[in-house]
Symmetry: C2
Subunit: 139 residues, 2 copies
């Protein structure tokens, strides 16, 4: 097996256990990891239109609609008018802002434990590798 195959093998193998454990931590906020991904995007980069969100997350518009609907229900985000009558901007509510911070604090120790024994430099290299692949395959 080539090292490339080995890498992607390992990449895929980790996915479910990782997501499942994140979901356990998110449970008390009634969130799943996909919804959390959107909250984090809004926190990091401010309000976005549905189309922007779809592009950033590499998912389709109807998937965004559903994510947003759920987060609106929970009171974590709200939609406001955009540049014209078609557009809607999605943004965190005050409560959403708080929750995001709280969750980030909760996830931090889990992430650190998951990366126990891995140096900062290795984490940075691995992050860069993932970012490169992302760029290569979405070209």
């Amino acid at each position: 097996m080539t090292i490339e195959q080995e890498f992607f093998n390992q990449y895929r193998l980790m996915y479910r256990p990782f997501i499942n454990q994140v979901n356990v931590l998110l449970e008390k906020y009634q969130l799943f990891s996909s919804q959390w991904a959107l909250l984090r995007l809004l926190k990091d980069k401010g309000s976005h239109t549905f189309v922007d969100i779809a592009n950033f997350m590499f998912i389709e518009k109807p998937s965004v609609t559903r994510l947003v609907q759920k987060l609106v229900e929970l009171g974590y985000v709200e939609t406001v008018a955009g540049r014209d009558k078609r557009e809607k901007l999605v943004q965190l509510t005050a409560n959403g802002e708080e929750i995001v911070q709280e969750i980030q604090a909760q996830l931090k120790p889990f992430f650190e434990q998951a990366l126990a024994g891995v140096s900062k430099q290795e984490i940075e290299i691995a992050t860069q590798v993932l970012a490169n692949i992302c760029a290569n395959i979405n070209r």
Copy 2:
């Protein structure tokens, strides 16, 4: 955002685009990436019981049952008697062996292109990081 959060962010972001593209390549064999993962396991490590497969892939037994059923239908694997009357071993058929090699050859250029601009050393570090996380979170 901490570098740990950044890493897992990037990790998750890559998943769907990657799986989708692998699935496109697998389409002509009527396979999806989860089924491919099992074929690769059988190729790499020989025949396994259902329970072994569940443990290796970090999924539950009923999920294994479905994967195997599909691959049996396609004629890529077969089940044979195990050590006692409860156990069943899953192994590749002759056709399965051929198909796996063919698919590996098809995936190789895709993997290489996805990793374009990433050095062998970086790939190895990233693989090791993923393996470490896997070990840490499944403890």
